[in-house]
Symmetry: C2
Subunit: 195 residues, 2 copies
């Protein structure tokens, strides 16, 4: 938990009082997942926000032909959830599972909203998260409608090298919206040109 208080202070510039630590400790629960274990399955309702403290996960959908489409990757200090299901209480269309052995801090919907009014730092943290999320979403949407497959990959190498290192190529491809074969060829081209 101490790393979590540090995390909050880092993003909000608000130190967490020991009184607040008490409240936080009761609201957040640690959880461990083994590689390939589900955090959420299609049809479930997403009841928690989960902060990754260690490991790597992904959120993805599965189409009729069994193809997987990665909506989001997460590693240390990223929050995972199906935002739609969590906020609306609707059954999720996505799976979230662990690609590496993973450790999380989880908080439920009611606690999350309660803490936002009780602890100023949590209010700031939420605003900061939403802000970053909005900026990142706009970028990804713009990339999707504007760039070619190759440009999207090179852009991802620049902005998210950690994901490319920690997840296999077929998952990267499904994140970029292309087939694994196409990604393999794009990488070859880029390599032959000298990265």
């Amino acid at each position: 938990m101490n790393r979590f208080y540090e995390y909050i202070r880092h993003y909000t510039a608000h130190p967490v009082t020991s009184q607040e630590q008490d409240v936080l400790q009761h609201a957040f629960r640690p959880k461990k997942l083994r590689k390939r274990q589900y955090l959420l399955q299609e049809g479930d309702i997403c009841r928690h926000l989960s902060l990754i403290t260690k490991g790597a996960m992904r959120q993805y959908s599965v189409d009729e032909k069994g193809g997987e489409h990665t909506v989001q990757f997460g590693i240390e200090n990223w929050w995972m959830s199906d935002r739609e299901s969590f906020e609306l209480g609707s059954p999720s269309k996505y799976n979230i599972d662990a690609w590496e052995d993973t450790e999380l801090l989880q908080i439920g919907y009611d606690d999350w909203w309660r803490l936002r009014s009780e602890i100023p730092a949590m209010r700031i943290l939420t605003a900061e998260m939403d802000k970053r999320h909005a900026v990142a979403s706009q970028k990804r949407i713009h990339a999707a409608i504007t760039l070619t497959a190759e440009e999207r990959y090179l852009e991802m190498m620049k902005s998210q090298p950690a994901f490319i290192q920690r997840f296999p190529q077929n998952m990267i491809a499904s994140y970029l919206g292309i087939s694994p074969e196409t990604l393999s060829r794009i990488r070859k081209q880029a390599f032959l040109r000298g990265d």
Copy 2:
């Protein structure tokens, strides 16, 4: 402004006191734009959030070849801004202009943050906006990486028919990430099959 208080009450279930109306009235400024007039140009810093009270606008980038790529449409009751430029104070990569004659209510960065702490309804409104934005972004990203051009268009017809009615096809195409010709052919196909 009265419609604005009504708007707030609708989304927050908090009536706006006359004291608060006073504060809001000083923070928000009305603005009118003629068709084709810019609200924001590439290179500008986006200093305001703008609520559309009447009209239709779009946010788009222009590539090296002069091609336009629509990131967002907005009509009545939609907020327009380049979120990245607004939050980070960086020069925008986008243009925002009016497609129809448009009326706005604008608020600056500092006022926006101040009102969030002063007026509870604004805090709720912000949270609600961020929530909806997050859900919509996730959907659009999922559509972009999962669906074919035709499926994306049909999906848009279902979820955003107002946009399709009020913006010309070449802009719809640039929103879907396809060429105007492809959209024209897709529509013909769909029509021949009976919608």
